[in-house]
């Protein structure tokens, strides 16, 4: 399946604004983020904490909806999903 990864602010500067990943059906958010960080140590450092968990300050959305709690890692991605990764917002 194909999943689009959108990145913003400093995450965009590291991996680019949009990546398409070819993943197995049922891949978790954590696995998708790990796939992205395989090619980029900077992305790994920005996205994960020292224990290898998704860092608490990273905001994640699937198809424009924030994901929270366990879904931040265990959430399952589906073909055509758009996973967005970004730092805390700072508009206004």
């Amino acid at each position: 399946m194909k999943v689009r990864i959108k990145a913003f602010a400093r995450f965009r500067e590291i991996i680019g604004s949009e990546n398409t990943l070819e993943l197995d059906d049922g891949t978790s958010v954590l696995s998708a983020l790990e796939s992205l960080s395989e090619g980029s140590k900077d992305f790994r450092d920005a996205c994960f904490d020292k224990e290898g968990a998704v860092a608490s300050h990273v905001v994640l959305m699937i198809n424009g909806k924030r994901i929270s709690g366990r879904d931040r890692e265990a959430g399952v991605l589906h073909d055509g999903d758009e996973l967005a990764v970004f730092p805390p917002v700072a508009g206004g």
Partner: protein, 138 residues
């Protein structure tokens, strides 16, 4: 009206548009690029999602307070000191709900709408720290 745009906005036009025979108060908020040592800034947005979230905030404010209308215009792209960043125009029958509604909208906008600011200074550039606290994974 809810809109993200690169262009500046004409505040007076939105105020006139918000007036009706029932209007007793219009409160506006304009966020402006402040000179605290920066040379300029760049605003980036998750465009479609930011507009959706602005619409959600407008609907929340209209439910929470007896308002007649809420307009939110937020700019993106490069801005200089003194430029407008965001305009919120809230109309209501009375001042109290107009003030409360306007404050609600700007406070929520800063918490949830996916927009980021990069500041350019003489000693380099950096992303402004956001106020959102997404919380731990567990």
């Amino acid at each position: 009206m809810i809109r993200l745009q690169k262009e500046d906005f004409e505040v007076g036009e939105f105020i006139e548009e918000a007036k009706s025979r029932r209007t007793g108060a219009i409160v506006t908020f304009i966020g402006i690029v402040r000179d605290d040592g920066i040379e300029g800034m760049e605003l980036e947005a998750y465009h479609d999602v930011a507009e959706q979230e602005l619409a959600v905030i407008r609907d929340e404010a209209m439910r929470e307070f007896p308002l007649h209308s809420v307009d939110i215009i937020h700019r993106t792209g490069p801005l200089r000191v003194g430029d407008n960043i965001v305009l919120i125009v809230v109309s209501a029958g009375h001042r109290k709900e107009a003030f409360l509604g306007c404050e609600y909208v700007i406070d929520r906008l800063k918490q949830t709408v996916p927009i980021w600011k990069k500041e350019y200074r003489k000693d380099g550039e950096h992303w402004v720290e956001g106020e959102e606290k997404p919380g731990p994974t567990a």
